[in-house]
Subunit: 122 residues, 4 copies
């Protein structure tokens, strides 16, 4: 079933610079969780915006039909790594409707802090 939108934005982004607890499950990270409930593969173009330099990307992401992808921003490397401890925003443009949710695990202190929000869609 085709559900969602093609344009998604996440205004908040910040990969914590250190972690506390067993890796990799409790490593500080940010993720865009992408649901493609439709019957066609989703081809997504991701652009990263910064405070004081031109945008990075596009990063190319595929999500198969009827599958989900929990994309860790920490893992992106082509065309470049996203620096830690640096505020950024992300814009994702898909060729088919998808649903995107933002999550961060911050394990800089002894207790993990976890946030999530539905992204902005249009």
């Amino acid at each position: 079933m085709q559900v969602g939108k093609k344009i998604w934005a996440i205004a908040e982004g910040y990969i914590p610079g250190w972690s506390h607890g067993p890796a990799p499950v409790l490593t500080s990270h940010e993720a865009a969780c992408i649901l493609n409930a439709g019957d066609k593969e989703a081809n997504i173009s991701l652009t990263i915006y910064f405070a004081d330099r031109p945008p990075a990307g596009p990063y190319r992401i595929q999500v198969a039909a009827e599958r989900t992808l929990h994309l860790r921003f920490n893992d992106l490397s082509d065309p470049e790594k996203i620096p830690v401890e640096t505020p950024y925003s992300s814009l994702l443009i898909s060729d088919v409707p998808v649903v995107i949710q933002f999550t961060r695990l911050d394990s800089r202190q002894e207790a993990n802090a976890l946030v999530t929000t539905i992204a902005y869609a249009e």
Copy 2:
């Protein structure tokens, strides 16, 4: 009063693999909180999407008229249990308008981490 939408998606899903603190209130879990404010029972079909296998479900859920249901994903077993420590997404389709919010309690470390977000609706 009839309020809400019939199609809801939660892109993020992950049941933590362990817990810390008194059970069951502080057991790590994920929940879809469903409000049916209308005067007809809601019949909801839930499908679970994974990264690398076909979807599970449909799971059948009822929410009585003018009632709320805090559905714990941990408790689902028919047609199959949802595996822990596995990323997933969920799609809920109701025959009457409802409002759905996503919540996770992660008590893997000494302090509990709690997240919530309104789900995506259309």
Copy 3:
């Protein structure tokens, strides 16, 4: 400036049964933060929905023009208190447009857990 919607729903609700840390700022609580940016007082009717009993309310709430109200559900008592450790949902209907955000401070463990989400509007 008039901004917002007249119908808001919060599907998730649960007042933790105990607290940890200095009261009242770190007392476990749930709040509906209501912004009335318009130039007329907002008269809001709040109904609370439960899993297994008829709804409670309506509770009557006023928010003055160009003011905000951080309404703690713990403080409601007329027509009845909201029980702790009991899942509920809330529906708020205003006579003028407002913006509503949901927040919970859970201080049951040594570290406080905080969640927030924009409510569902239509």
Copy 4:
């Protein structure tokens, strides 16, 4: 690429009164993360609403084309500082479409608590 809306509201606001952990990264704070993905500078007018006094502002904020701004409310001082431990709401009006997300880091206890939500847009 022009994405977003011109009117954004954040109903919840509260700058914690103390912090725990290394400053400034773990200082308690609230932020509005603003993405301007378009090719024109965004000029934003911010008004702060309180429970029992007239609104403060407008505060004037610029976000350059194709840049992001993680605006800390703690840092605002013109026309006046935002008091700590005081509930408030914020309304942001931009001359071009932007996307705004709300974040708070609460480090009053030993473990940091982090929340985020997409703001209300129209």
